[in-house]
Protein backbone atom coordinates (compact mmCIF):
# COMPACT_ATOMS: atom_id res chain seq x y z
CA UNK A 1 0.00 0.00 0.00
CA UNK A 2 2.67 2.47 1.03
CA UNK A 3 4.65 1.53 -2.09
CA UNK A 4 1.74 2.44 -4.34
CA UNK A 5 1.16 5.69 -2.52
CA UNK A 6 4.83 6.61 -2.79
CA UNK A 7 4.72 5.82 -6.50
CA UNK A 8 1.77 8.17 -6.86
CA UNK A 9 3.50 10.92 -4.91
CA UNK A 10 6.63 10.58 -7.05
CA UNK A 11 4.49 10.56 -10.20
CA UNK A 12 2.80 13.82 -9.24
CA UNK A 13 6.11 15.36 -8.19
CA UNK A 14 7.57 14.65 -11.60
CA UNK A 15 4.57 15.42 -13.74
CA UNK A 16 3.47 18.62 -12.05
CA UNK A 17 4.57 21.07 -14.72
CA UNK A 18 5.85 23.93 -12.68
CA UNK A 19 7.21 25.58 -15.82
CA UNK A 20 3.73 25.90 -17.22
CA UNK A 21 2.72 27.94 -14.22
CA UNK A 22 4.95 30.72 -15.48
CA UNK A 23 2.67 31.16 -18.48
CA UNK A 24 -0.21 33.55 -18.44
CA UNK A 25 -3.63 32.10 -19.07
CA UNK A 26 -4.57 32.94 -22.66
CA UNK A 27 -7.14 31.57 -25.06
CA UNK A 28 -4.86 30.44 -27.88
CA UNK A 29 -5.91 30.36 -31.56
CA UNK A 30 -7.65 27.05 -32.25
CA UNK A 31 -5.65 25.56 -35.08
CA UNK A 32 -4.06 22.12 -35.42
CA UNK A 33 -0.64 23.71 -35.97
CA UNK A 34 2.42 21.53 -36.22
CA UNK A 35 3.60 18.79 -33.94
CA UNK A 36 5.79 20.11 -31.18
CA UNK A 37 9.38 18.93 -31.52
CA UNK A 38 10.41 18.07 -28.00
CA UNK A 39 14.03 19.09 -28.49
CA UNK A 40 13.18 22.49 -29.88
CA UNK A 41 12.63 25.00 -27.13
CA UNK A 42 12.11 28.64 -28.02
CA UNK A 43 14.45 31.17 -26.47
CA UNK A 44 11.58 33.43 -25.44
CA UNK A 45 7.92 32.67 -24.86
CA UNK A 46 5.88 35.85 -24.89
CA UNK A 47 2.25 35.93 -23.86
CA UNK A 48 -0.23 38.48 -25.23
CA UNK A 49 -3.56 38.63 -23.48
CA UNK A 50 -6.83 39.77 -25.03
CA UNK A 51 -6.20 43.36 -23.95
CA UNK A 52 -2.89 43.36 -25.82
CA UNK A 53 -0.75 43.34 -22.68
CA UNK A 54 2.54 41.48 -22.92
CA UNK A 55 3.78 39.02 -20.31
CA UNK A 56 7.09 37.25 -20.06
CA UNK A 57 7.02 34.41 -17.53
CA UNK A 58 3.87 35.89 -16.03
CA UNK A 59 5.51 39.28 -15.50
CA UNK A 60 4.14 42.24 -17.45
CA UNK A 61 6.65 43.63 -19.89
CA UNK A 62 6.69 46.43 -22.43
CA UNK A 63 7.66 45.95 -26.07
CA UNK A 64 10.78 48.05 -25.51
CA UNK A 65 11.87 45.97 -22.53
CA UNK A 66 11.24 42.76 -24.44
CA UNK A 67 13.20 44.00 -27.45
CA UNK A 68 16.07 44.94 -25.10
CA UNK A 69 16.06 41.40 -23.69
CA UNK A 70 16.08 39.86 -27.17
CA UNK A 71 18.86 42.20 -28.21
CA UNK A 72 20.94 41.21 -25.19
CA UNK A 73 20.39 37.53 -25.96
CA UNK A 74 21.48 38.07 -29.59
CA UNK A 75 24.67 39.69 -28.33
CA UNK A 76 25.24 36.79 -25.95
CA UNK A 77 24.78 34.03 -28.53
CA UNK A 78 26.33 36.04 -31.35
CA UNK A 79 23.66 35.62 -34.01
CA UNK A 80 19.95 36.41 -34.39
CA UNK A 81 19.47 33.09 -36.17
CA UNK A 82 20.12 31.32 -32.89
CA UNK A 83 17.30 33.16 -31.16
CA UNK A 84 13.70 32.07 -31.51
CA UNK A 85 10.53 33.62 -30.18
CA UNK A 86 7.26 31.89 -29.52
CA UNK A 87 4.26 34.12 -29.08
CA UNK A 88 1.23 32.89 -27.17
CA UNK A 89 -1.42 35.36 -28.29
CA UNK A 90 -4.98 35.39 -27.13
CA UNK A 91 -7.14 34.58 -30.14
CA UNK A 92 -9.38 37.55 -29.37
CA UNK A 93 -6.54 40.06 -29.36
CA UNK A 94 -6.05 42.21 -32.42
CA UNK A 95 -3.20 41.58 -34.80
CA UNK A 96 -1.97 45.10 -34.01
CA UNK A 97 -0.52 43.84 -30.73
CA UNK A 98 1.16 40.90 -32.43
CA UNK A 99 2.42 43.13 -35.23
CA UNK A 100 3.97 45.59 -32.77
CA UNK A 101 6.15 42.80 -31.42
CA UNK A 102 6.89 41.19 -34.77
CA UNK A 103 8.01 44.45 -36.36
CA UNK A 104 10.47 45.20 -33.59
CA UNK A 105 11.78 41.65 -33.33
CA UNK A 106 12.27 41.27 -37.07
CA UNK A 107 14.20 44.56 -37.08
CA UNK A 108 16.72 42.84 -34.83
CA UNK A 109 17.17 40.13 -37.44
CA UNK A 110 15.19 37.46 -35.61
CA UNK A 111 13.18 35.50 -38.14
CA UNK A 112 12.58 32.28 -36.24
CA UNK A 113 9.30 32.70 -34.51
CA UNK A 114 6.05 30.87 -34.11
CA UNK A 115 2.54 31.31 -32.82
CA UNK A 116 1.37 28.88 -30.18
CA UNK A 117 -1.93 27.25 -31.01
CA UNK A 118 -4.19 24.74 -29.42
CA UNK A 119 -5.77 21.92 -31.37
CA UNK A 120 -9.54 22.25 -31.67
CA UNK A 121 -11.25 19.72 -29.43
CA UNK A 122 -11.20 16.27 -30.91
CA UNK A 123 -8.34 17.07 -33.27
CA UNK A 124 -4.66 16.46 -32.96
CA UNK A 125 -1.77 17.81 -34.92
CA UNK A 126 -1.32 15.93 -38.18
Amino acid sequence: MIDVVFQLVIFFLFTAQFGELTHTEVDLPRQPGEQEASSEKPTFVLDINERGELYLQSDPITVDAFVALVSKEIQRVGSPESVSVRVRPDRLSTAADLNRVTRRVSELGVSRWSIATIAPSGEGAP
Binding site: V9, L28, P29, Q31, A95, L98, N99, I115
Partner: protein, 140 residues
Protein backbone atom coordinates in the same frame (compact mmCIF):
# COMPACT_ATOMS: atom_id res chain seq x y z
CA UNK B 1 4.15 8.51 39.38
CA UNK B 2 5.75 6.41 36.70
CA UNK B 3 7.74 8.47 34.18
CA UNK B 4 9.44 5.52 32.60
CA UNK B 5 8.67 5.18 28.91
CA UNK B 6 6.43 2.37 27.88
CA UNK B 7 7.76 -0.57 25.96
CA UNK B 8 6.58 0.52 22.47
CA UNK B 9 8.13 3.98 22.89
CA UNK B 10 11.45 2.31 23.58
CA UNK B 11 10.95 0.40 20.33
CA UNK B 12 10.44 3.64 18.37
CA UNK B 13 13.59 5.17 19.76
CA UNK B 14 15.54 2.16 18.65
CA UNK B 15 14.95 2.96 14.92
CA UNK B 16 11.58 1.53 13.98
CA UNK B 17 9.68 3.88 11.66
CA UNK B 18 6.29 5.01 12.96
CA UNK B 19 4.30 3.78 9.97
CA UNK B 20 0.99 5.33 10.96
CA UNK B 21 2.37 8.86 11.05
CA UNK B 22 4.36 8.20 7.93
CA UNK B 23 1.28 7.12 6.00
CA UNK B 24 -0.56 10.20 7.27
CA UNK B 25 2.15 12.46 5.90
CA UNK B 26 2.37 10.62 2.60
CA UNK B 27 -1.40 10.71 2.13
CA UNK B 28 -1.35 14.41 2.90
CA UNK B 29 1.28 14.90 0.19
CA UNK B 30 -0.72 12.78 -2.21
CA UNK B 31 -3.89 14.77 -1.62
CA UNK B 32 -1.93 18.02 -1.99
CA UNK B 33 -0.56 17.01 -5.39
CA UNK B 34 -3.90 15.63 -6.53
CA UNK B 35 -5.58 18.90 -5.71
CA UNK B 36 -2.91 21.29 -6.95
CA UNK B 37 -1.82 19.50 -10.13
CA UNK B 38 -3.11 21.13 -13.28
CA UNK B 39 -2.85 18.95 -16.30
CA UNK B 40 -2.01 21.49 -18.97
CA UNK B 41 -3.20 20.83 -22.49
CA UNK B 42 -0.29 20.35 -24.85
CA UNK B 43 0.25 23.21 -27.23
CA UNK B 44 1.16 23.13 -30.90
CA UNK B 45 2.71 25.85 -32.94
CA UNK B 46 2.54 27.57 -36.30
CA UNK B 47 6.01 28.51 -37.42
CA UNK B 48 6.78 31.24 -39.86
CA UNK B 49 9.64 33.53 -40.67
CA UNK B 50 9.10 37.00 -39.29
CA UNK B 51 9.67 39.41 -42.12
CA UNK B 52 9.52 43.14 -42.42
CA UNK B 53 7.30 44.80 -45.01
CA UNK B 54 9.67 44.32 -47.95
CA UNK B 55 8.88 40.88 -49.29
CA UNK B 56 10.68 39.31 -52.19
CA UNK B 57 12.23 42.50 -53.48
CA UNK B 58 15.58 40.86 -54.03
CA UNK B 59 16.32 40.40 -57.72
CA UNK B 60 17.19 36.74 -57.28
CA UNK B 61 14.17 35.94 -55.14
CA UNK B 62 11.12 34.27 -56.51
CA UNK B 63 8.28 36.55 -55.55
CA UNK B 64 6.21 34.91 -52.86
CA UNK B 65 2.47 34.85 -53.06
CA UNK B 66 1.02 37.49 -50.76
CA UNK B 67 -2.10 36.88 -48.71
CA UNK B 68 -3.55 39.92 -47.02
CA UNK B 69 -5.45 39.38 -43.80
CA UNK B 70 -7.56 42.43 -43.12
CA UNK B 71 -10.92 43.65 -41.90
CA UNK B 72 -13.47 44.81 -44.43
CA UNK B 73 -16.75 46.18 -43.17
CA UNK B 74 -16.15 44.57 -39.82
CA UNK B 75 -15.42 41.14 -41.27
CA UNK B 76 -11.93 39.69 -41.48
CA UNK B 77 -11.16 38.54 -45.00
CA UNK B 78 -8.29 36.75 -46.68
CA UNK B 79 -7.36 38.57 -49.88
CA UNK B 80 -5.10 37.15 -52.56
CA UNK B 81 -5.23 38.59 -56.06
CA UNK B 82 -8.85 38.50 -57.14
CA UNK B 83 -9.86 36.32 -54.23
CA UNK B 84 -11.31 37.91 -51.09
CA UNK B 85 -12.99 35.48 -48.75
CA UNK B 86 -13.68 35.19 -45.06
CA UNK B 87 -13.40 31.40 -45.36
CA UNK B 88 -9.98 29.95 -44.54
CA UNK B 89 -10.86 26.70 -46.34
CA UNK B 90 -11.42 28.62 -49.56
CA UNK B 91 -8.04 30.28 -49.08
CA UNK B 92 -6.41 26.90 -48.57
CA UNK B 93 -7.96 25.56 -51.78
CA UNK B 94 -6.72 28.60 -53.70
CA UNK B 95 -3.22 28.29 -52.23
CA UNK B 96 -3.09 24.57 -52.96
CA UNK B 97 -3.28 25.25 -56.68
CA UNK B 98 -0.27 27.58 -56.65
CA UNK B 99 3.42 26.70 -57.03
CA UNK B 100 5.02 26.17 -53.65
CA UNK B 101 8.67 27.07 -54.31
CA UNK B 102 8.35 30.85 -53.98
CA UNK B 103 6.66 30.52 -50.61
CA UNK B 104 3.85 32.59 -49.22
CA UNK B 105 3.80 35.80 -47.23
CA UNK B 106 0.91 36.31 -44.85
CA UNK B 107 0.58 40.07 -44.57
CA UNK B 108 -1.49 40.81 -41.52
CA UNK B 109 -3.11 44.19 -41.09
CA UNK B 110 -3.53 45.71 -37.66
CA UNK B 111 -7.33 45.54 -37.82
CA UNK B 112 -7.35 41.76 -38.30
CA UNK B 113 -7.61 39.33 -35.41
CA UNK B 114 -4.92 36.98 -34.22
CA UNK B 115 -7.30 34.09 -34.84
CA UNK B 116 -7.55 35.07 -38.52
CA UNK B 117 -3.78 35.43 -38.83
CA UNK B 118 -3.32 31.97 -37.37
CA UNK B 119 -6.00 30.60 -39.72
CA UNK B 120 -4.14 32.04 -42.72
CA UNK B 121 -0.84 30.52 -41.56
CA UNK B 122 -2.59 27.20 -41.04
CA UNK B 123 -4.14 27.37 -44.53
CA UNK B 124 -0.71 28.02 -46.05
CA UNK B 125 0.76 25.12 -44.13
CA UNK B 126 -2.09 22.79 -45.08
CA UNK B 127 -1.74 23.84 -48.72
CA UNK B 128 1.83 22.56 -48.66
CA UNK B 129 3.88 25.73 -48.38
CA UNK B 130 7.16 25.10 -46.58
CA UNK B 131 8.27 28.71 -46.76
CA UNK B 132 5.82 30.82 -44.84
CA UNK B 133 6.41 34.37 -43.73
CA UNK B 134 4.47 36.51 -41.33
CA UNK B 135 4.60 40.11 -42.47
CA UNK B 136 3.05 42.85 -40.37
CA UNK B 137 1.44 45.32 -42.74
CA UNK B 138 2.61 48.89 -42.43
CA UNK B 139 0.83 50.67 -39.62
CA UNK B 140 -1.51 53.33 -40.92
Amino acid sequence: MNFRPKHEDIGDASGTLPMTSMIDVVFLLLVFFLVTSTFSVSEDRLSAAAKSQRVGTGASDLTPQIVDVMARDGVVVFAMGELATPDARELRRALASLPKEPGVAIRVHDDATVAAAAAALQAARDAGFEKRSYVPADAR
